[in-house]
Symmetry: none
Amino acid sequence: MTQLQLSDTEKMIEFAIAQAHTLNVTVNIAIVDTAGHLIAFQRMDGALVGAIDIAIKKAYTAALFQKPTHELGERSLPGQPLFGIESSNGGLITFAGGLPITFSENENVEKVCIGAIGVSGSTIENDLSIAKAALRL
Amino acid sequence: MTQLQLSDTEKMIEFAIAQAHTLNVTVNIAIVDTAGHLIAFQRMDGALVGAIDIAIKKAYTAALFQKPTHELGERSLPGQPLFGIESSNGGLITFAGGLPITFSENENVEKVCIGAIGVSGSTIENDLSIAKAALRL
Amino acid sequence: MTQLQLSDTEKMIEFAIAQAHTLNVTVNIAIVDTAGHLIAFQRMDGALVGAIDIAIKKAYTAALFQKPTHELGERSLPGQPLFGIESSNGGLITFAGGLPITFSENENVEKVCIGAIGVSGSTIENDLSIAKAALRL
Amino acid sequence: MTQLQLSDTEKMIEFAIAQAHTLNVTVNIAIVDTAGHLIAFQRMDGALVGAIDIAIKKAYTAALFQKPTHELGERSLPGQPLFGIESSNGGLITFAGGLPITFSENENVEKVCIGAIGVSGSTIENDLSIAKAALRL
């Protein structure tokens, strides 16, 4: 299986920070492998200290479930099928800002998840916008 | 950056306890630096033992997110943007009683967060009232 | 049973800080009740951040076992009867700087433990000296 | 107080990776602020997954105690003054590879700790050599 390389994460973080500058916010950015283990992390100067762990947990959550964190969030509201899922796996974050990173050799092959990114420190809209920018989505 | 000194915390705790006496309640009071590390703590005689950890976590939460804990609480209700945030950072407390401590050299300079206070042991209304009194808000 | 009051801790911390000034060091000082629950804590400006938790755990350890932490330490070395005890109770600290606080109505009555103090941030000799000064030992 | 900037960490990590290449090993590199909060992290391709947490904890330990991790390690052996310290603060790592990052405006001013670096994934000799290279020591 194709694996995310450290060199891949540098461009992603560069794109993320460029988008954060455009939005005039400061965030934490975490990138993990398919197992949820950290590959790279950067805290922009002045970004919220409380959002370090959230960025890492968003990436971790998106990797472990191979889904955007906000999709898990919709399904884990009271009354929904996955209510309470956030207490599993040592603690998940299920609001927006975590996205799986996918890859396919060519357009005839289905994309596979090769890791995930998590962004935290601004509004969830900005966090998600920055995560998307990192992946050129 | 200006840092909160131990001597600053003494007056804050004195004001807090005075307000607790006015309200005829007993509480725990914790003050942390911007990183969430404890600077000072006092438990009034008879204050709830279960509220020790809550006072410390309220201060920790307000410092890490530079926001009153109840503002995080409103935004972390089911269906709100930050639902589930309380499981991050080793456990947050997102109900009222935690406030950031801010400071500016003079009124022309924007205030910066230099720490936070957390109060717990009575109702959330009283806890918040005591936290505000500590900061003369 | 006589209980440690918040007002008692103020003098103890005052004596501790005076001794720290004499030794020209900065430390964290924690005082707990007989159950190990925090009553008061102060971090002197510049004291080691890593020693906050250690001061609290020294007080906690001395209270739970009603012994100076260094006595437990001697008995928990490899080959000694209590080897490994430090992993109990959510984590103990068994080196010098934690002392039980004892009290008796008069000299004909045996002293009872009413709480404990923990000091951390300097050498263990200084930490213990400061803890003793706090209790006028 | 001078604070470590994200841009400072980029060169440190670059130097670290250059040294890792020289030694023909792969490691994890973590950089934290004085409070122990993560600023930057990189895992070289192929570096041990179990060493991610160790690199972060080495940096955290060196920051919280403003000392190289191996100095704490020497002092926490059985019979030494700080035996058992590693169970404090949520878990420390006290073998080589964590170093405080110090700074002074000029040579007439005493250096202050502005953060710490932790390296893990190879032998402790290589990990320390890489941490030193990162700081040009």
